[in-house]
Structures are given as C-alpha cells and as structure tokens.
C-alpha cells in the first residue's frame, strides 16, 4: 500500500459519470432500508435525525453522548475488545520491558554499590584485624622486654641459683596468671637447658619442677635467639606446637618470642628468655572479628599457607608433610600471584572477591632494638584476606533481587493498567477515526477543509475521485493549483468571503478533471479560532447535476402540459360554444323548414313569407358555419390513444399535488387495484382530467373548517372498462348545481371559469368513456371517470 493511502472498503459508486448525485441519491439512499451506510457527517442534515429516530439505532454505532467534556470525543464508539486486548498486550509488554531494563540497570548499579560497600567493609575488617595483630604482637614484644629487664634475671643471669630460679618462677607464674595469652615462659641457659619453665596450665599457671625440665638446644628458636645480639628478639614463624618431634594434637598454634640475655659487657649471651604466645588467642580474636562482621577472614603466612583458612583441613599445611599442597599458591595460583606481588588489594579466590593486605606484625619502632632474625621485621609478614562468604553474598543479592522484583511486579501491574487505559483510548479513537473516515468517504458529497492560506488540509475520498487526484496531490496544495484557474476564478469570491468569516453558499457549474462538468452546490463554513480569528473554512460540495436535470425536465413537462392544456381548453371552449349555439340554430332551421313545408302543403303562402323563412334558414345555416369555422380555427389536439397505466398516472398526479396537499393538511388515500388493465387513452389528456378532479377535491375539502380533510382516489376494473373514482369528504355538490355541473361556465369557485368539468367530460367522451359525479351518502362527492380498456 502506498504511503498516505488508507485502506478503504470498495466504493459503491463508479468514479465516472453517474455517481454521487447528491440530493437525489441521498434521498434514495436514506429512504432505502440499508441505512447503515448513511450519512452522519452532514450534521445539519435533517435526514440524519429522521433516520436516527426511525431506526432507533444510530448508524455505525456512533451516537451523540451529549454531556462529554469539551475537547473529548463527543460521541460514543463501540470498540472491539480483541483490539483493546491486543493493544494492551503490546503496550503492556513494551512498558514492562522498559521498566525491566531500568530495573536491571538499577540492579546492576545497586549490586556494584553493594560490592564496593562490601569491599569497604572488607578493608575495614582487615584494618581492624591488622590492628589487632599489631597490638598483640607489640604487646608480646613489650611483655618479653619487660620480662627480660627484670632485675632478678639481670642479677643472676650468669649464675642462676635455686633461689633465683624460684623467684623467677614465682614472677613468671604471676605474669602468666595475668596474661592468659601466653602459654609458657621459659628461661634457657646457653646449653639449651630449661632453667625456669612456667606453663599457663588449664586453670592456673604451673611451675614445672626440675624433673620436668628439658634440653631445647636443638630447637630452632633457641639456636636462632642465641645468635642474636642484645635487645634483638627472635620471633618464630606462626606454627603449631611440636612435642617430641610430633605436632601436638589438638593443634596448638604458637608463636615463640625469644630474647637472648646478655650480661653487661659480655659478648655472648648467658641464656635465652622464651615467651610462648598462644596463637589461638590471636586466631580466635580474628575469627570472632570475621564472624561478627560476617566475613571470611583468612590469615596466611608469607609462603601462602593458611594459618586461619577456609577450612580446618587447609590450615597449617606446612606443618604436615602430607598436607604441603594445602597452599594458596597451589589452590588459587592466580590469586596468589597477585598477593605475592603486592602489599594489598583485591583478589579473586574461587568464586569470591577478597581484599587482602600484607601484615607486618613486628613494628620497627624508634627507640626499640630492631627486630630480628630470621628475617627483618619488615620482611616478617603475613597476609590478611577478607571476603564475604559466597552464600551470604548470594543471599544478599537474592534479597535485593526479591525486593526489586516485588517492586517491579507492582509497577508492572500499574503499567499494564495504564496500558489498558491507553489501549482503550487509542483503540477508541482509532475506531472512531475509522468510522469517521468511512462515513466521510461514503457521504455523497465532497468534503474538505482549507486553511487560511487556501491550502487543503483535509479532504474526503470523493474529493479525490472528482478531481482525479491522489491524496498527496491534494494535501497541502493550494486550491488554485488543484482545481485549475477557471474553476478557481468561479469560486474565488466565495473563498475570500469564507476566509473573511462569512459563510458562503452558492451554485456553480464546475469542470471536474475526472468527473467532467457538474452542477454543484457549494457551502463554505468559516472555522474560527479561540480568539475569533478565521483559521480556514470547511467546504461542502454537493453534486446537483441530476437534480437540476430532473428539475429542468419537470419544468419542461409542466410547460408542455400547460400548453397542451391551453390549446385543448380553447378547442373545448369552442366546441362547447358550438354545441350550445348549434342546438338553438338547428331548432331554428327545423322550425323554419317545418313552416315552409306546412305553408306549401296548405296551398299558397305569401311569397314574402316564404322568402323570409328561407332567409331565416340561410342565416341560421350561416351562423352554424361561423361556429364551425371557429371550431376549426381552435382545432383541439388530436387525441393519441395508447395503453395507459392509470395507477401510474394517479401516482404522478398525487406527487405533483403533494405540495398543495401537505400545505393544506389534506390526507390523500390511494386504493389502487394492482391488477388494473391498462386504459386505452391519451395519457396527457387523462392526466389532465384526473388532475382536474383531484384539484376540485382539494378545493372542496379545503373549505372544511374542522375535521379531517381526506381525498380518496380508487381504481377498479368494471367489465371491459376501468374506473377512477375521486372522492372527497368536503361539502358535496350543491343541489342546485347537480343537473348543470357539467355544463360550461358553471362553477362554485369565485375565480373559476367553469370549464374544468366540462372539458373533463368532453375528454372522457372523446375516449368513449364517461365522467359522472354524485354526492356520497356519508357526505362529500365522488367523481368517477370510466375509460375503455385496451381489450374491448
């Protein structure tokens, strides 16, 4: 379908010649039973109202709804539920999709925000954890320094006697009672023997008796510490306690802080103070932190072994030969690569994103001896990593999703309601527009709207068909360009009048490009804006060609009838005069002849009397000839008998007289026999007779001041002839006229000539028929015309 063309049902009229002859066709259409197609648009058209009242159902389901708000459609439209449903679905899914996209974007932003929030939390957790580690480590270091600077130890370090040992043991016991984070405090001599050892014990610190003391010469912390200088502290790797070559189970994580004790001025240490830090104290704190924050908190050593890890099995891998593989470098090599290279940041381990930071638990503070073996404090490092547990992450995301989905559901429902409303509005307006278009395209009139620049802004289909233009060739074009200069000059003053705000109605004969020359009645109705300015005008054009032709024919026919009737009347008058005068003339002639003959047989009359009688005869004869010449001169029309359908003639007469009967409120009843044989008669003359009888009846009933005025015309066949009876319920035939009503110059009408019935009767007789008049028993008069039929 080319753009701009609308789908239209097949047009009922052919585009050329005999189509849409406005007035007449409109009437024929509207009178026919099929009013569905009929006219709504010509608002002023009274026909519409009539149809509306008749059918009680507005055509095309369009009705005035009366009290619609201004601006809205002031008509009700029947919409198709299917169309509404389809449109609702369409709009609803579109809206839902847009909303879905928005929600998805929001969800993405929200989840990334959540992620960054999580990351920040991770960072905070790591910082707290880091702080905890640092605090623990620095506490341990300061505790060890405190213990190492005890005077008892200092005094007796070179030669530790039993008292000193006892004192130290007591001191250490007190110490451990307060500091539950330590497992053991020991003092080992340079040979590796434990000289004082206090265990933290389950409830109270216990001083290990002499017999319980062991030689720890081969232990790495002893040898490492012995190699240190004064004030240097050895911090062991975080590992598990080993008892007699075996990892003590349940595992006891521990960090050993060892400090060599130097005598003043000595180059070699006199012993080593060892403080066993309970690793689980730190680990439990970290664990608690993680649990409170609902984060997974990992602690790894510098080699990637978990000290605090995802599972217990993965922890402390380096302590067990068979669990060497439980190493981050092995399990999450990619993540480990990044950790090993950096000081902190984000890593992805498995399905979770973790923040990590390298922790240096041993601060090298000014004023304190640098820390120490086996590696410098700045190289003794662990790795703290925190991540949200995946299930928690998922749960959070799911919760967020659920919330969003709920919100989405509610909003989508609202949107679908909205779509439904929009669908009704749009389907309704589209349906209305379609009905409107259909109506506009089928109204047998050209309809257009022209703006003030004289450009077409709307036109119906017939407009296109009459001018043979496509919609594109009309819309936006100037009138002059579309209809041509000649036609434009014809309508121009009216166009200007309409644009000056005055309605213009006129008739023109325009030469349409496709339809040819047509007589049209045009009406231009100005369109006013809100401030009363003219914005354009509505143009309504009716084709009245056929109407005009019909009117012309009617007029010609009426003239013809009038002419014939006049001629005929003259003939009739002459004929009547002839008859009336011939009667006495013939009497005169007969009498004079009788006189002559009587005189001759009586034997001799005076010669003069005979002469005079002959003169009387001759003059009477001469008078008769004069009359004869007069008749010949006004020779009446020769009757042309042919088969005539009297019913048709009556219908025609009634139609012609309708104006008069309607004006005077006269009811005309027809009782026409459908099986009436045709009469053999001159149609024009018989029409004149019937018309004359009907007029008499109208005049008769018109005199009535009250009561119903009724004329009745009936036809019937009476053996070999047909009868037309014209009855009225008027005053009837006055008794004094009953005998003479068919005579010439007898009339009851003030301005009547008194020839109507005379002529009518002579016409009837000329056809071999009769015309009779009588009063009805129930009042009024009946005149019956009898004519021979074609079958004698």
């Amino acid at each position: 379908m080319p753009p701009g063309e609308f789908h239209r049902p097949p047009y009922p009229f052919s585009p050329r010649g005999d189509f849409w002859h406005s007035g007449l066709l409109l009437e024929r259409h509207t009178l026919s039973a099929s009013v569905q197609e009929a006219t709504v648009l010509i608002g002023a058209d009274v026909e519409y109202n009539r149809i509306y009242k008749q059918t009680r159902r507005p055509p095309l389901s369009i009705a005035h709804s009366g009290s619609a708000a201004p601006g809205s459609l002031q008509r009700t439209v029947r919409v198709s539920y299917r169309a509404v449903l389809l449109r609702t679905l369409m709009l609803g899914s579109l809206f839902s999709a847009i909303l879905g996209a928005l929600f998805f974007i929001y969800y993405r932003a929200e989840s990334s925000h959540l992620r960054s929030l999580l990351a920040a939390n991770e960072q905070r957790l790591i910082q707290v954890a880091n702080q905890t580690i640092l605090e623990e480590a620095s506490a341990a270091l300061s505790d060890l320094r405190y213990l190492s600077s005890q005077s008892v130890l200092r005094k007796h370090v070179a030669d530790l006697d039993a008292d000193a040992v006892q004192t130290l043991a007591a001191e250490y016991k007190v110490f451990l009672e307060q500091k539950r984070q330590y497992d053991q405090v020991r003092f080992l001599d340079v040979h590796g023997w434990e000289r004082v050892r206090v265990n933290a014990g389950a409830d109270h610190p216990e001083i290990v008796p002499l017999t319980g003391l062991q030689n720890k010469r081969d232990r790495y912390y002893f040898r490492e510490a012995l190699a240190l200088g004064p004030n240097e502290i050895y911090v062991s790797p975080f590992d598990l306690n080993v008892e007699g070559e075996r990892v003590e189970l349940p595992a006891k994580p521990a960090i050993r802080f060892a400090l060599p004790i130097y005598e003043e001025g000595e180059r070699h240490p006199s012993g080593v103070l060892v403080l066993n830090y309970v690793g689980s104290h730190l680990l439990d704190k970290l664990k608690l932190l993680g649990e409170v924050a609902k984060y997974k908190l990992w602690l790894l050593d510098a080699d990637g072994y978990w000290l605090l890890g995802p599972t217990r099995e993965l922890e402390w891998g380096f302590m067990f030969p068979d669990r060497r593989q439980s190493n981050m470098a092995k399990i999450f090599p990619e993540a480990w690569k990044r950790i090993a290279a950096g000081q902190g940041g984000l890593i992805e381990a498995g399905s979770q994103v973790m923040s990590f930071v390298r922790v240096f638990p041993l601060p090298s503070q000014p004023g304190h001896a640098a820390l120490a073996k086996p590696m410098a404090a700045d190289r003794y490092s662990w790795i703290l990593a925190a991540g949200m547990d995946e299930s928690v992450l998922r749960a959070q995301a799911a919760a967020a999703r659920t919330k969003l989905l709920n919100a989405y559901g509610v909003l989508a429902a609202i949107l679908i309601l909205l779509a439904w409303g929009l669908a009704i509005i749009s389907v309704r307006s589209r349906t209305f527009a379609r009905s409107m278009e259909k109506v506009l395209d089928h109204v047998p009139a050209m309809i257009a709207y022209v703006d003030k620049e004289q450009r077409y802004r709307f036109n119906n289909r017939i407009y296109e068909e009459m001018w043979g233009a496509t919609p594109a060739e009309l819309y936006g074009r100037r009138i002059r360009d579309v209809i041509g200069d000649a036609a434009y000059e014809a309508v121009r003053p009216h166009v200007e009048m309409a644009l000056s705000g005055k309605q213009a109605s006129f008739e023109r004969r325009l030469d349409y490009r496709l339809a040819g020359p047509r007589d049209v009645r045009l009406t231009y109705v100005p369109d006013f804006g809100d401030r009363g300015e003219v914005r354009g005008f509505y143009a309504l054009t009716h084709d009245v060609t056929l109407l005009k032709e019909t009117q012309k024919r009617e007029r010609q026919r009426m003239l013809e009838i009038a002419h014939i009737s006049r001629l005929h009347s003259m003939g009739e008058i002459a004929s009547e005069i002839a008859h009336e005068v011939n009667q006495p003339l013939s009497a005169i002639m007969s009498y004079s002849a009788a006189c002559l003959r009587t005189l001759s047989t009586a034997g001799g009359a005076p010669e003069t009397v005979v002469k005079w009688l002959n003169a009387i005869s001759a003059d009477a004869k001469r008078a008769g000839e004069v009359i004869q010449r007069l008749r010949k001169f006004a020779q009446r029309r020769e009757a042309r008998p042919e088969p005539v359908d009297l019913n048709a003639v009556i219908n025609e007469v009634v139609t012609l007289l309708r104006g008069e009967t309607l004006d005077r409120g006269i009811h005309v009843a027809l009782h026409l026999r459908q099986d009436l044989p045709p009469a053999l008669a001159d149609r024009v003359l018989i029409e004149q007779v019937i018309s004359s009888l009907a007029r008499n009846a109208i005049d008769a009933v018109a005199e009535k001041q009250s009561g119903k005025r009724t004329i009745e015309i009936a036809t019937r066949g009476v053996d070999g002839s047909v009868e037309v009876a014209v009855s009225d319920n008027g005053p009837g035939i006055p008794a004094e006229l009953a005998e003479r009503m068919f005579d010439s110059f007898v009339t009851t009408k003030r301005d009547g000539l008194g020839m109507g019935l005379t002529i009518s009767r002579s016409i009837a007789e000329a056809h071999g028929g009769r015309l009779l008049g009588r009063n009805n028993p129930e009042g009024g008069a009946t005149f019956s015309l009898t004519l021979p039929t074609t079958q004698p």
């Binding site: 011939n582 003339l585 009497a587 005169i588 002639m589 003959r597 008769g624």
Partner: protein, 207 residues
Amino acid sequence: MTSAPGQAIYIIDDDASVRDSLEALFSSVRLPTRTFASAEAFLEALDANARGCLLIDVRMPGMSGLQLQRVLVKRQIRLPVIMLTGHGDVPMAVQAMKAGATDFIQKPFSDQYLLDRVRECLKTDRQAVEILSERQRAAERIARLTPREHQVMELMIEGKQSKVISSALGISERTVDVHRHNVMKKTGTRSVAELIYLSQKALGSAD
C-alpha cells in the same frame, strides 16, 4: 305514403327546443313522431313491436346516445339509428357507425338531408318488417309438420331419395312417400327446390 302503418320516428334529445322543432318538421311532412327527453325514458316506453327509426342525440345527461345504442344492440332491437350531435368528432362517429348507426348527422343540419335520411331509414325498416313477416309465414308453415314429417323434410332438403330416407329412419318406403306428400301439402310447396327456399326463409338466411 312515406311511412307504413305502425312506423314512427322516435326523437331522443334532452334539448326541448330541438325536440320540438324536429317534431314540427316531421309533422309538416306528415311523419308520425314520438319524443323522449332521455334515453332512460325511451327505453321505458319502448315496445318490442315498435317500428320506424330513431333520432338520438349523442350527448345527454344520464345515459348517452352511444350507450343507448349499445343497450339496443344488446336487446336485439334492430331499429335504424341516426345519431345527432352538436359537436361530433371523428372517433365518436366511428364508434356510432360501428355499433350499427345508419348515419351521424351534425347540427345544424339541412332539413332536406335529414328528411332523406329518415325516409331511407323508414324504408329499410319496412323491408326488414316484410322480411320478418315472410320469415314468420315460412316458419309457421314448417311448424305445421309433425316431428316425423320434419325429419323427412330435413332429409328431403339434403336431396335424399325415398329409399335412402326409409333406411335412415327405419320405416317403409311407402310410409316415406306418404310423409313426403304431407310435407309438400302442409308447406304448400310444389317442388323440393321450393321447399329448400322456404326452409331457408324460415331460418332468416334468404335474401
């Protein structure tokens, strides 16, 4: 002698002066007249044995001249008719002549012409009366025959010999001869040819 006994001129016209003047004209030539003001009045007074001729005005209130003519045809009254009209025209005249009118005369008319026409009509009527009375006489004679003689006569007219008649009727030839004799005697005929002429006269087909 211009009119036979019983003959009269029946004038039917609604115009009294025309009626009276015609009556005067005919009485001046001693022709008897009877006048009627309407067709209905005439029909009422009409006697089946009336003889003469009719002068009828075409246009009358009530039954018109042409209608009266039709009624007379229907009643098999065959009196000669002259139509008179004040303004006759061709179709009306044709109609009247078709219905059997002798003439159609337009008023005013020449007295001589009317008298000539009336006399012709009376003559025609007289002849018709004669023919009718001859026919009646012939019929009366034939009516004298017995049924058997009538049968024999029919066969004689067909030219059958006595032998053929006897076998057709199943009677002896002698009896046939007796019947033949009686037929000739009763009808007053002297030959079969005369008998044929008589029977045709009786049926009205002669002349």
